[in-house]
Symmetry: C2
């Protein structure tokens, strides 16, 4: 399994220190790429939920948890390039300006999310449905932790 | 590392045999979810390419290859639900109708892609740049293998 939580957490807070490979990415592409990552994770959280509520398929939960883990650890923070606080990828970005200034806050929620995603994959592999349910709740909290601070609430 | 190539290949050809968890997914969501998966993989193939062409960062290539691997093995085939041969997710689907009928052909390109993605992650972990370059070429061929048969060529 992956051991990139530290790396990824650094990636998520290294908004300014984007590497050469990412510096060449166009703002609209960077926004679309991060939206794609979140959307694909949304599919996978949805199906873990459906498995917990319906017929439990261990293999599917493992596939879903592994996808979430790998995306969480992919260093998506690099996609928050300067100039991507506004703009359109697949749709208008919902990022709050605070994400680009609150380095410490971003690092904190990023780390919590990475840890929860790594643990989710670990627990999914056991097939212990009760443990999966518990960890899934924690994963959801870690998503929420970032959304509340750094994502525009479009329900308002 | 993951060992789901067989499972995922089955998933990719099991267009008709969608599980209960996916059967509840709305067509427009299924299309958006698969577009998200491909888009996120596109980011990751792009940055492997950039690393090969510019300054090579072993950790970033590992992150990228692991993300591609986990998405490849996530069972995305389940998102090709009946009724999703046409329709809009983030944009109009580019799938050809053949994907829903050519079970054998889909299984073949799916298997080739999963194997290439698994090998890509394995090679990335070694940090051997020449080997990464070679395997990256093979991964690209496996993407192309599916695109040529089952994706509408929007360059035409």
């Amino acid at each position: 399994m992956f051991k990139f939580s530290k790396l990824a957490a650094i990636g998520l807070s290294a908004v300014v220190l984007a590497g050469t490979a990412v510096a060449q990415t166009k703002p609209e592409d960077a926004i679309a790429f991060r939206q794609a990552g979140y959307k694909f994770m949304a599919w996978n959280t949805t199906r873990i939920k459906m498995n917990l509520e319906g017929q439990y398929n261990k293999d599917e939960v493992i596939q879903a948890a592994n996808a979430i883990q790998a995306i969480a650890n992919s260093g998506m923070g690099k996609l928050y390039l300067p100039g991507t606080d506004k703009g359109k990828g697949f749709h208008d970005t919902k990022v709050k300006p605070e994400l680009f200034t609150d380095k410490e806050g971003v690092g904190k929620v990023g780390k919590a999310f990475n840890e929860a995603a790594n643990e989710m994959a670990k627990v999914a592999a056991t097939g212990d449905q009760a443990a999966v349910k518990e960890q899934f709740g924690k994963l959801g909290q870690s998503c929420k932790g970032c959304h509340e601070k750094f994502k525009v609430d479009d329900k308002k």
